[in-house]
Subunit: 478 residues, 2 copies
Amino acid sequence: MSQQTNDFTKWYIDTIQKADLMDYTPVRGCIAFKPDGYEIWEHIQAEMDKRFKETGHRNAYFPMLIPESFFQKEKDHIEGFSPELPWVTEAAGEKLEERLALRPTSETMIGHLYSDWIKSYRDLPVLINQWANVFRWEKKTLPFIRTSEFLWQEGHTAHENEEDARKETMQMLNIYKEVVENVLAIPVYDGQKTPSERFAGAVDTYSIEAMMQDGKAVQAGTSHYLGTKFAEAFNIKYLNRENKHVYVHTTSWGTSTRLIGSVIMVHGDEKGLILPPKIAPTQVILIPVGPWKKNPAIIEKLDEIFAALKAKGIRVRLDDSDQSPGFKFNEWELKGVPVRIELGPRDLENNQAILKARDEDEKITVQLDGIVEAVEKELETMQKRLFEKAKAFRDANSHTHVDTLEQLKAHIEECEKKGTIPGWILAGWCGDDDCEAKVKEETKFTSRNIPFNPPTTKHTCIHCGKEAQHTVWFGRAY
Amino acid sequence: MSQQTNDFTKWYIDTIQKADLMDYTPVRGCIAFKPDGYEIWEHIQAEMDKRFKETGHRNAYFPMLIPESFFQKEKDHIEGFSPELPWVTEAAGEKLEERLALRPTSETMIGHLYSDWIKSYRDLPVLINQWANVFRWEKKTLPFIRTSEFLWQEGHTAHENEEDARKETMQMLNIYKEVVENVLAIPVYDGQKTPSERFAGAVDTYSIEAMMQDGKAVQAGTSHYLGTKFAEAFNIKYLNRENKHVYVHTTSWGTSTRLIGSVIMVHGDEKGLILPPKIAPTQVILIPVGPWKKNPAIIEKLDEIFAALKAKGIRVRLDDSDQSPGFKFNEWELKGVPVRIELGPRDLENNQAILKARDEDEKITVQLDGIVEAVEKELETMQKRLFEKAKAFRDANSHTHVDTLEQLKAHIEECEKKGTIPGWILAGWCGDDDCEAKVKEETKFTSRNIPFNPPTTKHTCIHCGKEAQHTVWFGRAY
């Protein structure tokens, strides 16, 4: 049995370290993002940011330190976050009068400021996003997926009424789904969170949920309709069109560097990373093969291909180091580079090169004359292929045949026997928190979300057997 | 006397608040960057980042929290920064065993990691930059210019030898100078800092220094050659080409959101901001004038101009609100929009529009047929004109006639009498810290830098009258 199937977490940690994406640091749960890891984030940022701006949002930056009293104002919020907060208690040699939290999220600071910024319906909507570092002092950490400090974006918008705010909430969830599916090549289920899994302080939380290759779920993005809860807590009122002072309706939405971890866990294989072309730091690696050092025409031709690809905006590198081709193949496969081009003396004679896609077994022979087009086409095809592969995997492990808790236990037991992954199950749910909690207690399967488009509808609650109010994805989660 | 000349700080604060660039927050010395303020930073970031990448640097991200013990390792560094550090002492309900500082800069954390990452000369150079928030708990703060939390970039590189490291130090200083002069339209003096003004832990510090309209200086960017000081403190050794373990030579360099403040202070006037086109969130504002509501052809034409400018990548807005043209003129002038286009019924009849550059008194009539080209040309011309104006001002207030401390005092006194600004003076300096300190004590003029290309060379020390070792810019500074 391979390491990837045998001990998925070990495979994951080994892979991201060998591929030079991150390093541990002496600060508990805080990692260093090395250039290859950080550049994946930069590409995700660029894609997200473009879409935020196209939909009228602007970036801003708010203080990282949040006075303790701010957290007290929304009681669900403080209950949810207080167990995880780091506190600044001293500065410049003096004890502070009030403790300052390192932000876990910025609803409170932003709520405080919006109460000042928003006076009239003419000021609405306020559509602001922030790219920032945030802190959640978690007990169990895993690089990228769950760290004490992480990077994210958090959108915070304010609207005249519920309808507009709900429209915004869904718009941003749809943007997340589109980016995660089309850019990261990760299929997701979009849907609503159950009340017990809601963001602390939200009226409704929506999520996109992705399945890793060990069958566990990563919540890849969330979008919250906050109603008037933060508006009431921070007194964000405006003069409406009927000349009355009323509360705004707010939303917030976020995605984080855990997307980097998700990409690795969804696409990687025994050889290392497999990066979707759209976010790969290096998209194409050029490698001379055969007795290329005696034949300067090889490197000349590769330089030419390099320049031609670069001119097309493709992120290309040439590996002309002294290592053997086999060593280089392994190294660049480990780093997940989507396309490799090999060129040796015989290839050059035949006016051709060898193209190898990272996720395919077969090598392809391509004519040198059309090599730029061939590479472009392969990058495009691979992007779609990775999504389709991940979707086939996800679908094969999304089970709809389980109706009762007993059946779920039997399903899990069977998977353990066979050494397969249990994946997710679609289950009916009566809406009672206790039934949801019981499933978790007995199987570690938690509700992922109530999908907008379930493959089928369930009619009885998986736990109590009563009439189902919702059809829910359940699975183990990071 | 105008507010700008009368109370420059008040003018500055009023202007950035009215122009909606920032807001104060309840956390001491921490501001909120509002969208118009933050977008200036985004444009600066994009310009800097492009140049960093063109010169082979890559971005990474390091933990914000730094263990107290790290600071102890380089004694100059801890001495310089410890008075300004905020400390996390508790997290998740527990007291930490070791206090964690909010980073004031990341040499220590990065030094710790580089000692692991760098093994051989093959690993060098390491060329990494980080975009991040940093903290310095300062007593006196001023929005953008000096805040407890600010945003910046910090480059951290490691090299085989002194020569390479010094080359890097100068390369980055030159990039800073080029961006600040060509993008922010702010002329700077580049040169070396005196030992007393060096970065805590540096062997040599170089800076670019900009003059504000009140004659005070802003250190607009610094680049440090750190020698082997941090390498020794953090044991960053590598196997060199002679197979010996030796210390790397490191550099660091940074620019921050104080550049936003500098742009305002260098270019602004009584009416508000004047933003250089290259960083203006809105570059062109279109305003209908005359009885335009009765004449839909006006807005149609403006929509057409809007689309044509947008297609050229110009950041354009149309103000079709109900306010009067005069009100709109004031508002967009306050926000510093470089170019205004007015279009009324008579203009349309004559197939022309009115173009007004923010920094010029005269309006220009432009033909509608060539309006896109006219706007493009004006943006380009204005960018250069703002630099030339700022340079003329800076040069006129850079005095070379002062040779002694008595003359400096007389110069200051005369300026105070006349109500003019004292600007900067070029002075000889013997190299003795005490002489430098004495000038500061008696005049509040501090050494800015030892310029690479002084307008003239001074031969005697401004304080002791002995032979000058250096020719130095002195001035009051933020």
